[in-house]
Amino acid sequence: MTAMVKAEGVHKSFGAVEVLKGIDLEVAPREVFCLVGPSGSGKSTFLRCINHLEQINAGRLYVDGHLVGYRQKGDKLYELKEKEVAAQRKDIGMVFQRFNLFPHMTALGNVMEAPVQVKGESRSAARDRAMTLLERVGLADKAKNYPTQLSGGQQQRVAIARALAMEPKLMLFDEPTSALDPELVGEVLDVMRDLAESGMTMIVVTHEMGFAREVGDSLVFMDGGVVVESGHPREVLTNPQHARTQAFLSKVL
């Protein structure tokens, strides 16, 4: 079985600052893969590299066996055209810390947009499926509301439904609960838990250690652009081997 995501020595620099200093990891299909670490450790950057929102400088990154952002012929790499990159991203859903819903569209419009525009689905089919998805995240009654009329937790659930509408084989979550009031975190985590149970492959950058322990299949602790420690969440979180991991967890838990 090919790995859903495979990273080999991934490097990424912003100018002179090297943010990722050689990341190697594998995410299996149906796995819930948690990325934790202090801010600035490069976990969000790595996540953004997976769907080519950031271009990597060295190494190789594969999603479902395909090189991300490039085509390899012999030992030469060719940059993919913007349309080809867009086609790769269709299969990768992403949920952002700040939701990034389209404010000029209703919740329903947000969820319908990509299926209609990118996949060319008929509006009625897309609407039916969008309504099913909104129901799944518990927001069928908010379909006609604009994002400004929704709470943060509701917006993030719409954002998850919007990503799911493209029927992705991989979902990326970039600190999905960090911008939420504490009381709204639970409703978003519930939706993510349901999604994990349905067998979705998920990579989750999070500070919610409880979620990682309960739902995660594996966990990677990153710091300073490298993977410091990895393993099963329960083991890493309860019995961290590395001093950096211990120091970080003692502050977070």
Binding site: A86, R89, F96, N100, V118
Partner: protein
């Protein structure tokens, strides 16, 4: 609350508010009936303004104005034609200005250094010189280019081509494009980067992202200043009278040259400008309201909705006054 209560002469002591917290019976405190603050300054300034208006009115009552000329000429055929020309040159200049402005904005935002430098130069040149001067330059272009030669497409004497209308159109539209370019660029750049990322993450191509996600949101920022530009253009088009384009100011001046009613014809023109700018202000309001969707929780009421709300509130206000 306690501070407001304390100056009251016969109020209960400060233990009141503290007690009410633990009190089992929820007694609603008495509604505040305070004597409103007086604003003598408002009365003075109001009276001052009224006095000035009265003086102004008296001055005009004595003025040597042939008031009868104004209604007589307001719908005069030549004036109406002038109004038509004003509208025509405004609309055409704005259409060309907006299209060219969008193109220049795209060029300026482009990663291609040649196009962005060109756009910057264009904007620098056209914003850095007065419109009146630009109009005169176009109008007198024949002095340096006697023949207009566009290769196989068009060839003619420049004086034939550069009519007052063409000179006015080129001068106003090309100048407007420079301002519109900056407005459009500002609008596009005002949209959060997260929007582009979200659209890209959904697999939308850059072009589709621009059309479906960025531009509709940029419109909210672009539309209000564009409306202002339109209204400005209505008035700026009067400068074209200098190069003998027969818009309403020019026609008014032409009529007064023979009829010797200079001020009266200027008043007529002023009335038309006021009418046109008022009409377009209303249209602008509705367009802005349309693009405000999603950015505000509740859309502002239309004037008509305000009137209806005031009417339905009226009787209720009267009702409360009767009971109290």
């Amino acid at each position: 609350m306690t501070e407001k209560n304390s100056p009251g002469p016969a109020d209960d002591n400060s233990a009141g508010p503290r007690l009410s917290k633990t009190d089992t019976a929820p007694v609603r405190p008495e509604a505040i009936k305070a004597i409103p603050v007086r604003h003598p300054g408002r009365w003075v300034s109001g009276l001052l303004v009224i006095a000035l208006l009265v003086l102004l009115g008296m001055a005009f009552a004595d003025a040597q104005v042939e008031w009868g000329d104004i209604p007589e000429y307001l719908f005069n055929d030549r004036i109406m034609k002038g109004v038509g020309n004003t509208l025509l040159i405004t609309v055409l200049s704005m259409v060309i200005g907006v299209l060219l402005g969008v193109l220049l904005a795209v060029m300026k935002l482009s990663k291609n250094p040649v196009t962005s430098v060109f756009a910057n130069l264009y904007i620098w040149l056209f914003r850095g010189t007065p419109v009146l001067l630009q109009l005169l330059l176009w109008y007198n272009l024949a002095l340096i280019f006697p023949i207009l030669n566009l290769g196989p497409f068009y060839k003619n004497e420049m004086t034939e081509f550069m009519t007052p209308f063409m000179a006015a159109l080129l001068g106003l539209a090309l100048n407007e494009a420079a301002y519109m370019a900056e407005i459009v660029r500002g609008g596009v750049q005002s949209v959060d980067e997260g929007q582009t990322e979200a659209a890209h993450a959904l697999g939308m191509s850059p072009g589709r992202t621009m059309r479906r996600v960025i531009l509709p949101q940029a419109m909210r920022v672009i539309v209000p200043p564009t409306g202002n530009e339109f209204i400005n253009m209505l008035k700026t088009s009067s400068l074209a009278s200098v190069i003998t384009f027969a818009e309403v100011t020019y026609v008014g001046r032409q009529i007064s040259a023979t009829e010797l009613n200079v001020m009266e014809m200027l008043f007529v023109a002023a009335i038309w400008y006021l009418f046109l700018t008022s009409v377009f202000s209303v249209i602008q309001f509705y367009i802005e309201r349309h693009y405000a969707k999603g950015s505000v929780r509740n859309l502002p009421p239309t004037p008509w909705q305000k009137v209806r709300a005031a009417l339905s509130r009226g009787p209720r206000l009267a009702g409360t006054r009767e009971t109290s």
